[in-house]
């Protein structure tokens, strides 16, 4: 018996074939070409004909799928399940960040493909992480009939992997973006900005600590703003580039072999002169400074 869903799709398919024939014949196709789907002659408007013939094929496929599954009608589903009642579909038992992570991953891939393939690689990593976590979560959700046991199973499998990776990733993100800000700002500006940032963090943390209760949204928003500020600052730092560094010579300011960063806001010639005065060999100094940058 052809089910209602299949009738809909087979009907669409038949109508699309008919429309393709009408289009083909009216746009200069030969009857034989149109009937044989271009194997034995021209079909006129090639694009419209292929799209309509393809539409007919796709809807025919959908018709076959739904008729094979008996429209997934509750009666047939119960029969397939071998149960007395329709198997229950349980809504997700817990929240999951992985859909939004996957979406961010996809967006990062797109931006990376246009701007920089390294960024696309970051997106692929995010997508892979989301796929793995999603799969394990989906498996654990149905591992037993007890949600707590399922959660424990999932944690036992994933926590030894997640915790070190998440920690390392968090540290990397902080170090990377904070260092971009530090490298982009003038010497004393960096000190000031991170001094103020430390005071702000301390202030907010103190505020939270003294409250008897803090809403989840407030904490989430504070973390989100902080994270976005760090990443935004880092991206701005990346875009602005590092400030120029002044190499003080192989013996350094105090006679040590070190490199010191300085704000290069003043006269470039003057600073170059300083390098020449303080260093032993101007040419060697310049080449080393170039390497450092």
């Amino acid at each position: 018996m052809i089910t209602l869903g299949a009738k809909l799709y087979f009907g669409l398919s038949a109508a699309a074939v008919f429309a393709a024939w009408v289009l083909g014949l009216a746009s200069g196709g030969s009857p034989l070409g149109v009937i044989t789907f271009s194997f034995a002659g021209p079909v006129g408007d090639q694009l419209g004909f292929v799209v309509l013939a393809g539409t007919a094929a796709v809807t025919f496929f959908l018709g076959v799928v739904v008729v094979a599954l008996r429209d997934a009608d509750p009666v047939s589903v119960t029969e397939v399940a071998g149960t007395d009642t329709l198997p229950e579909v349980v809504p997700p038992a817990h929240l999951s960040p992985w859909p939004i992570v996957a979406a961010f991953g996809a967006a990062t891939v797109l931006v990376g493909v246009v701007v920089d393939l390294v960024l696309a690689g970051v997106g692929v990593v995010l997508l892979t992480a989301a796929a793995v976590e999603w799969t394990v979560g989906a498996w654990a959700d149905r591992a037993t009939g007890d949600p707590d046991a399922n959660r424990a199973l999932r944690n036992r499998l994933m926590a030894p992997i997640e915790t070190p990776i998440a920690s390392a990733f968090g540290v990397f993100i902080f170090v990377f973006f904070a260092s971009r800000v530090l490298l982009a700002l003038p010497k004393y500006g960096a000190t000031a900005v991170f001094g103020i940032a430390a005071i702000v963090v301390l202030g907010i943390a103190s505020y939270f600590a003294t409250r008897p209760a803090v809403s989840r949204s407030l904490v989430t928003a504070a973390l989100l703003v902080g994270g976005l500020a760090l990443i935004g600052g880092g991206v701005a730092g990346l875009a602005a580039g590092e400030r120029e560094f002044h190499y003080l010579g192989p013996d350094g300011e105090n006679g040590h072999n070190d490199v010191e960063a300085e704000d290069f806001g003043g006269d470039a010639d003057e600073l170059d002169d300083e390098a020449i005065i303080e260093g032993d060999d101007p040419e060697s100094d310049e080449s080393t400074a170039g390497d450092t940058e």
Binding site: V50, V66, A72, T135, W139, A143, D146
Partner: protein
Amino acid sequence: MTAFVTDIIPADPPEAPRARPRMVLLGTGFTIAGFAALFVGLFAVYFTMRSSYIAAGDEWIPGGAGTIPLTPASMMFITLAMSSITMHWAIWAIGHDDRLNTWLGLGLTAMLAAAFLNQAAFLYDQMGWEIAGDLAVQSILIYAISGLQILMLVGAIVFLALMAFRAMAGGYSSRDSEGLVAASMFWHASVAAYAVVWTAIYQIK
């Protein structure tokens, strides 16, 4: 999300309720339909451009300008056809609760997929086409269509890997193997897509 490795798992938790049959199969069917429509859109433009070249008296792929070697393309077809058989082997095995043969079938399918991707890289290298110059239109369309088929196959590999993990974790058996069946549906669809690509692009040219 709090993760504690010391979470206690009850000794005898209740069995998970039966999953709702047909849902994953339906979702996969609709996804395949979406992919098929995507191919329809690409082939519509491909055939339109091809016929406009031929109607203007030009060759679609001019002799000497570049070649699309048929042998590696045909080997790729044979490889994927074999993967369809091994995929079916895995589905048959899980339907009979034969886990060893399930693994064997899935492993061979993955191996054949890797071989296909390697052959695809070889074919592109042999063609050596760039999206520029006289063959720009042809290469845009051929890369778009064949690239989409490769992307679909990669999607099928990921889908299969995810379902294989669930099978490994005891998620599927003869009583319920719809996840694996859905993955195999998508697999066969990506093989069918290559059959169309092989016929329309590599064979007919």
